[in-house]
């Protein structure tokens, strides 16, 4: 479905990615974890075309997309939720969703209905400026905005960063629900244990390279991974 092979590159200075590969099969939840500076977010950005790649290829749905502008990637069914500043604060909740569907000629009402059903709190606040939402609600709106193109794959960059434990649980539950509708999810998470618990597969990155790759459960059970990357053993 989505595959990034041996990515090398960064933001113009030194390479942050030094040959990372990640793959997402249809319908999977794949989680990327690792210490700060491992290049987790950079991988996501590279997949979405926001990083200058010196080497490596990104293929999506059977075609290479490495050179495509982001707008084209969105049209092909790839949607990305940045970690911060991921809603238009002066636009209303509903307008944010409309902008999410910008690449579509017309947006069927059913798409709005499905997102409001997934996030009932957004339906209540549809006319409010997004800047007035709480952190968890903003994150929901950011995810909802990305879902407006009915993507095949959703890229989530630390969707629970800075949220309360309760809001975190809500977001994880939503991610599971979205995946149950057939959307592949590739996400970076600080909160590695909970995310790996949810994931079909996981990647542990360190210093811009792949370190461990396995199923979510196997990574959680792996003592080395637990000690070095998940903050202490069981």
């Amino acid at each position: 479905m989505l595959s990034a092979e041996r990515l090398v590159g960064g933001y113009g200075g030194a390479d942050i990615l030094k040959g990372v590969s990640v793959r997402l099969d249809p319908g999977e939840i794949v989680v990327i974890v690792g210490p700060n500076g491992a290049g987790k977010s950079t991988v996501m950005k590279a997949v979405f075309g926001l990083v200058t790649l010196r080497e490596g290829t990104v293929t999506f749905d059977g075609a290479e997309i490495s050179g495509l502008p982001t707008e084209q990637r969105v049209r092909r069914g790839l949607a990305y939720v940045p970690q911060e500043r991921n809603v238009f604060v002066t636009l209303s909740v509903h307008e944010n969703l409309e902008m999410g569907g910008f690449v579509r000629k017309t947006i069927p009402q059913a798409v709005f209905d499905r997102i409001y059903a997934l996030f009932p709190v957004l339906a209540e606040k549809r006319k409010q400026p997004a800047g007035e939402l709480s952190g968890g609600q903003r994150q929901m709106l950011a995810v909802g905005r990305a879902l407006m193109v009915e993507p095949k794959v959703l890229l989530l960059d630390e969707p629970t960063a800075g949220l309360s434990p309760r809001a975190m649980d809500e977001i994880f539950a939503c991610i599971k629900a979205i995946n149950a509708q057939g959307v592949g999810i590739l996400m970076v998470e600080q909160n590695a244990r909970q995310a790996l618990g949810l994931a079909h597969r996981g990647y542990v990155l360190a210093t811009g390279e792949n370190r461990y790759t396995d199923t979510g459960a196997a990574l959680l059970a792996n003592r080395e991974v637990a000690e070095s990357f998940l903050g202490g053993g069981h």
Binding site: F48, L50, T70, E71, V74, R75, Y80, P82, R85, N86, V87, F88, V89, T90, L91, E95, E98, M99, G100, F102, V103, R145, V149
Partner: protein, 296 residues
Amino acid sequence: MIEFINNYVIPGLVLGSIYALGAIGVSMIYSILRFAHFAHGDLMTLGAYIAFAVVVAFGWPPVAAMPLALVGTVAASLAIDRYAYKPFRKSRPIVVVIASFGVALMIRAAIMLIWGVQPEPYVEGINPPLESFEPFRIQEKHIVIVVVTVVLVTALHLLLTRTKIGKAMRAMSDDADLARVTGIGTERVIAWTWVVGAVLAAAAGILTGIDTLLKPYMGWDLLLPIFAAAILGGLGRPYGAILGGLVLGVIQELSSYPLLSDEPFISPGYKIGIAFAILVVMLIWRPQGLLRGRVL
């Protein structure tokens, strides 16, 4: 009180309308394209002179010449963006600012070559008498200025709140990077920003010409108060720019009110200094402007 309104408030609102039209464009261009557009005043002048050409060629009144002049100015602004600004889209903002400075000089020089340097009125003859709305006295041209401004601002409001491209303009002015990752066609939004900016600038230029005279420096001279109005209202906030323009226009007129004696409080010769003072005060104490815009 009535005298006060007739002599200070009404002229202030008329002047403020013109400032507002220019300031909206400056504010939106700043927040969407991320640079201070120094050629905006000269775009106003260009619009005013294209209308002059239409008036001379067809003998139409200036207001009737407006649609053609707006279209001409939009075309010019899109061409300018394509050839003078687009090559610098990824450069640092200061590079584009300097480019716009060059464009300003080029537009002005072209106008001087084509139409000469002498001030010209749209229509020869004496001013029509004051219209009387007892007890208010308003000149007909001032009614035209305010009405045209209200029509354009209403159209802008509908564009920004009811159309997809208008909402995308607000989105991109909110956060251009997020707009890009959302899949919003940013070049299309930029093109529409020029359409809006050029229409309002050309209208402001024509209205200035109707109010006074056409001069090659008319737009350049308005640039400082227009930037002051945009910053006063909050950069990136179109409604702020309208508010900033009106407030600045009224304050400038009020500054010469004989507050303490029979003499004007501040000599009318310093009117332009008021805009500068407001600009400085805002940048020091409230750089985000009245409506919480971007910080310069």
